[in-house]
């Protein structure tokens, strides 16, 4: 006799349907699982057997074969425990078929028959719509996450016994209802604020410009000047995450196991700050069974690389594709996965190995060769993607003790939002969204300057020796500054501010 139970798994972050079948035949008792199971799935044998026995059923002493179709797709994780157990019980004719067929099941089983949470419940729920299925049964801890998908009925259970009784109509299970908008707004409060940072008004302005135009930033300054503190607060001045963006980001976090139970949706823009000893696979994604990397976890948010020159060079190299395309493609023998990775990059570094090169108060003990070597660790192509350089000076004593505080993030965000709406309107028929993504041809079209600014820019090129690359960046950043100013044509003071964000071109990289 054969039984079929519907389930699902996630490849990358894309859901795919899995049908778990069980066949029971007479013969020497055996229990085998086929369909490219990974180790966790292979271990299901022992979990399923114990869970069935400990739920008050007898485990059939027969030849049991469990197949997970499609057979060519690698099955990972323990989420198939529940569908397997149900398939075996169904073979033994212990289950009524109407609910069994209309639901999709996910769940890990512990030895005593309890259901344990799984990863990827949200993308599975989203995918069900496309498979023409509309009922999902998940462990209790995954219910809230899956329920944001309104088109699918989400039920949750705590044990195998509960699921069996539900299927046979002997008991009810809780249907999880959700109000995604309310969850989103409830989860969107930040615990930190720009107001927390004393002084550094110039840097705050620079970050405001970066936020408005989506420009990548490099913060340079001595240790303790507040680079990390400022970077951490950048998400608070970015525009609020939209429902679509949140769904995308939540999917990725769900797959990575980073969506806490009962959270539902990611409401604040992600801020990821990997340590500089990180490997390339952990940064961009991959590994033996591919998982999303830090850049994908930072999707729709900020990736902060503190101590930028300390990162391994090959690790920084792999950032090129995602910074260019907004996604990362990971190739394996069995499949090719593409993860989204659209993020704002913020790098931070000291101006030299000892950190005090540009510090007026402390002396720098580094030799020119040391400084040269230190700075050259950051490749040209990476620097090329960074539009704004901000010097973060050591805080002056007056600033530290100043009772007055800077603006609240909310105020700054209002201006950022206004500038972003201008860009959205301007680029509505184009493929990119923000000024940072402008290509040279588009710059001609959208970055109109008045005569004064053209003169100023020409002067800057001649006098300051600004390269063609820097010219493009200055133009893009000027466009953003003009947007913040509510002006359509770029004016001279916009240009001069933008030029100030390239000061490091000359100071450090000579």
């Amino acid at each position: 006799m054969i039984a079929k139970v519907y389930s699902s798994c996630v490849i990358g972050i894309n859901p795919t349907e899995v049908v778990v079948e069980a066949d029971i035949s007479p013969g020497l008792p055996a229990f085998n699982i086929v369909g490219l199971p990974d180790t966790a799935v292979k271990e299901s044998r022992d979990r399923v057997k114990a869970a069935i026995k400990n739920s008050g059923f007898s485990f059939p002493l027969k030849r049991i074969t469990v197949n997970m179709a499609p057979a060519g797709v690698k099955k990972e994780g323990a989420a198939f425990d529940l569908p397997m157990a149900l398939a075996i019980l169904s073979c033994e004719e212990l289950l009524k078929t109407d609910k069994l067929d209309s639901f999709t099941f996910l769940g890990e089983l512990s030895l005593d028959g309890k259901l344990k949470p799984v990863r990827g419940a949200l993308p599975v729920a989203i995918g069900l719509k496309n498979f023409g299925r509309n009922r999902l049964l998940v462990p209790k801890e995954n219910a809230r996450e899956a329920a944001v998908v309104k088109e699918v009925e989400i039920f949750s259970a705590q044990s195998l016994r509960d699921v069996v009784d539900f299927i046979n109509g002997k008991a009810d299970l809780k249907r999880e209802l959700s109000d995604p908008e309310r969850i989103l707004s409830r989860n969107s409060r930040y615990r930190i604020d720009f107001n927390d940072v004393k002084g550094q008004e110039h840097v705050k302005r620079g970050l405001e410009v970066a936020a408005a135009g989506g420009h990548n930033v490099l913060l340079v300054g001595p240790p303790g000047s507040g680079k990390s503190m400022l970077a951490k607060r950048l998400p608070t001045i970015l525009s609020e995450i939209t429902m679509d963006e949140s769904l995308e980001t939540s999917k990725i976090h769900s797959v990575a196991g980073l969506l806490p139970p009962n959270k539902g949706l990611v409401g604040t823009r992600p801020f990821r700050a990997p340590h500089h000893t990180i490997s390339d696979a952990a940064l961009v994604g991959g590994g033996i069974s591919p998982m999303p990397g830090e850049i994908s976890l930072a999707h729709n948010g900020v990736l902060f690389l503190d101590e930028l020159p300390e990162f391994k060079r090959n690790v920084l190299e792999v950032l090129r594709q995602p910074l260019e395309d907004g996604s990362i493609t990971i190739s394996r023998v069995s499949c090719t996965l593409t993860y989204p990775a659209k993020f704002m990059l913020v790098g931070a570094m000291n101006p030299c190995p000892c950190g005090h090169f540009t510090d007026p108060k402390r002396e720098c003990h580094c030799s020119p060769i040391q400084i040269q070597h230190y700075l050259s660790k950051i490749s040209g192509p990476l620097l090329d993607r960074i539009d704004i350089h901000l010097e973060v000076p050591r805080l002056k004593y007056e600033d530290l003790t100043d009772k007055r505080r800077g603006e609240f993030s909310e105020k700054i965000r209002e201006r950022v939002n206004k500038a972003r709406s201008l860009q959205k309107e301007r680029y509505r028929s184009e493929v990119m969204l923000f000024n940072a993504h402008l290509e040279p041809r588009e710059m001609e079209k959208y970055c109109g300057m008045d005569r004064e600014s053209e003169e100023l820019l020409k002067l800057a090129i001649l006098e300051l020796g600004i390269s063609a690359r820097a010219y493009d960046k200055i133009l893009k950043v000027s466009r953003t500054i003009a947007d913040l100013d509510g002006k359509n044509t770029i004016e001279a003071h916009h240009i001069s501010e933008a030029i100030s964000y390239r000061s490091l071109d000359r100071n450090l990289w000579g």
Binding site: P26, G27, L28, P29, A30, F31, N32, L61, K62, R63
Partner: protein, 124 residues
């Protein structure tokens, strides 16, 4: 020495078969020979066809008798069982392998008897 060993085994088997009969096993064959080895007993129990392997020990110093059913031995038992089934053309029946583990005391009588149902499962 060889003869002693054989008689220990035979004693254990006798004890085991008596025990099985008491437990409701209908023993059909004893020491059944197949091209792959000998099956100690072929029995019927509650509708199941059971192939029984008996292991006897006189001292516990080498571990419990059941441990003597090594993976290699298990494969032999499985192969022998299949040979039996093929010869009798019994393809669609429920069957299993049980192990009876007998510990003998110094007088040659049973000190403990343990029956392990479904002792050997198929893993392919």
């Amino acid at each position: 020495m060889g003869r002693e060993k054989i008689s220990v085994g035979r004693t254990g088997e006798d004890i085991a078969f008596k025990y099985l009969r008491k437990r409701g096993y209908g023993i059909m064959h004893v020491n059944y020979r197949t091209p792959f080895g000998e099956i100690d007993a072929v029995a019927k129990h509650k509708g199941w066809l059971v192939f029984v392997e008996v292991k006897t020990r006189t001292s516990a110093s080498f571990g419990p008798p059941s441990l003597a059913v090594t993976p290699i031995k298990q494969r032999h038992i499985i192969k022998s069982a299949y040979a039996f089934l093929k010869m009798r053309r019994l393809f669609d029946i429920d069957w299993r392998i049980d192990v009876v583990s007998v510990m003998l005391n110094s007088a040659g009588g049973p000190q403990s008897i343990e029956l392990i149902e479904n002792a050997v499962e198929d893993i392919y």
